[in-house]
Symmetry: C2
Subunit: 442 residues, 2 copies
Amino acid sequence: MSNTEATEKVHEAQSAALELANVSEEQRNDALRSIADAIEANSEAILEANENDVRAGEEMLEAGEYTQALVDRLKLSESKLESIAEMVRSVAEQEDPLGKTLSARELDEDLELYRVAVPIGVIGTVFESRPDALVQIAALSLKSGNAVILKGGSEASHSNRILYETIVEATEEIPTGWAQQIEAHEEVDTMLAMDDEIDLLMPRGSSEFVSYIQDNTQIPVLGHTEGICHVFVDSEADLEMAEEIAFDAKVQYPAVCNAVETLLVHEAVAAEFLPGMVAKYENADVELRGDERVREVVDVDATTAEDWDTEYGDLELSIKVVDSLADAIEHITAHGSKHTESIVTEDADRAGRFMRSLDAASVFHNASTRFADGFRYGLGAEVGISTGKIHARGPVGLEGLTTYKYHLEGDGHLVATYAGEDAVPFTHEEFDGEWSPGRRSR
Amino acid sequence: MSNTEATEKVHEAQSAALELANVSEEQRNDALRSIADAIEANSEAILEANENDVRAGEEMLEAGEYTQALVDRLKLSESKLESIAEMVRSVAEQEDPLGKTLSARELDEDLELYRVAVPIGVIGTVFESRPDALVQIAALSLKSGNAVILKGGSEASHSNRILYETIVEATEEIPTGWAQQIEAHEEVDTMLAMDDEIDLLMPRGSSEFVSYIQDNTQIPVLGHTEGICHVFVDSEADLEMAEEIAFDAKVQYPAVCNAVETLLVHEAVAAEFLPGMVAKYENADVELRGDERVREVVDVDATTAEDWDTEYGDLELSIKVVDSLADAIEHITAHGSKHTESIVTEDADRAGRFMRSLDAASVFHNASTRFADGFRYGLGAEVGISTGKIHARGPVGLEGLTTYKYHLEGDGHLVATYAGEDAVPFTHEEFDGEWSPGRRSR
């Protein structure tokens, strides 16, 4: 496929996006259900295509190019496909993120301003090798009325192609072109340059990859590059609680971005807290490193300066003793990635200081960092996690794939009436009301 | 000032931003009031400095480099300073955009998630030659708890310097470094490169200038490059109303981005509507151009292809006859700048189609495009108008200078409890409640 073709596809998505804004909730949900049905009906062919990817992946594994984990993630099965179909059906069941009136304000008699939730437009996505990612991203985009450009990992190319075709065939009632697939690496660069046509980019993958995207496009990017999260055990902590939280935050699932990477311990409780904590971690095979003051109390390896800026993503943890709450805040400000930070303390004022002072998407009091997740937050399906501060922050649900539009209903209103010497004042009164064309609510 | 100094200033702003998040509403409002007082107390020196700018401006005017309008905008007076001080006091009076709990959700018993409005952090601004712009931007930033980098036009350098000094001296109670001034052009480029330190850019000025900023930074930009707005007179329009709206949208104040640039007229009403409309515009010295079908009815100059993409910003207007509502939508989609579009019609369904189909920040029914403005919308002081779709759209008030943070209050909650075979289900119940550290609301 040439880059001209990639450009063409983005243009098609752009046209479809305009029509999609007029597609009803029912039509979108029907289309989602027919995607689910089609995946089940087409399972034999999908598994056959997936077989090709897995075979190629196993060759790469033997050649030492791929890891076993990557090959495992590639693999689909009948039951995996069923759960993918279920996921798509559950997206159909979610509350419609579109059309809601977010606020209504009377500006003057018969002049009413409504803020209405609408799709963003065209969303460009680049994602990792799990073939279910393609289906999930397409489903969330459709639900939120957005056109989507899908670029999956080349390792999953056979699976992605047939899943994409299945989706397109199942959604003939939806404006043609709403979902576009691109496959070659160069086409990603074509996409990155189309900032007039693509409204938002959602890359998923390694930190390096997301950084590359951010550095090479003018399109807004929603994503996160790193998750360096901390748990701070305060002088006023319930130490039993602290031990359980710090353990859960690392061990419950260490490979994810909301797992803790550095444990900070107030010096007043270090001697009492560390021995038991370290024993518990070591029991779970967590590889520990500590600074000098940690090593005065327990026998662990020494940290280097790099440890404080490292996302281990594994059963590894660095520990540091700090002199004060202020020191903990300073350390996190210097080394955190604005993702999720947790304090364990029984002192509400100290918790408040920690939570207000830190610039992070999520700040927790007496809870494990692992709660930072769209599903746990009750946002429905998670689109991604953002460590940026603009538009959407932290775990992002369907709402993050919407924006708003102002709808003003008037009755021949002129600005001249509200200007100059005899200016009529605005009333500016909020009211409860849903926009519907031509009907004024008050 | 060297670029190292510019870098240093941005770093100082970044430190101040973290402290600013803890400054109370009362402290911020007190500081705003002391800015207003200081401007009044310091008026003699400010006017003296301004004199220098005006003198230099007049020399440039004689040399044909500046326009009279630019020199006029530069000029301060005792009464202008008073109204600037009043503006700052009115910002102090506005509702606090910070600290509000935007939503509260129980995840499980004693585990409560709050979404809280917080400042964005460091905002970089570049603005035009009016010296009151510096004060307005500084006041809005302070009110919203953000640190700010101020870069004004060089024409106003003397005025800006003394206003900046006045502001800094008046806000000694606010964390030092919260407002930074940069002056040289090269320093703008230094700022554009500091995407790790600056969270948002708000450029104001010409379209070319805003485009330059967008093309040369990874920092999110909130602004608008063009305002090509349309009024569509539908076949079902009340033609008297249409005439008044189309007139107001152009003539009430033609130099601004929400003024209409192209009038679209449905062919069914063109013969009846155009003669009166054209006479009314010509009475007000509006220079008119029309396409062929317009010129079949009225005697105006011919449009060229460029007219449809031109923001006149003056008493000029292009007129086009369209065959249908769909044609009007198509024309606006091709040529509009996603700013503000208005339909005049008595048919609610047709209004709805127009408003839903167009991808613009503001879509109006039976009202002048000139209403698209933060003050008229009731947003309080306007930070700017955004034609982007991410974060803030259309007129942006103080809310656009905020983001949110998730605060989770737990009681030793672990993710392990909610995972695996005996997973406890989440309750995910929204409730009304304000976050306060350590106190759970339910």
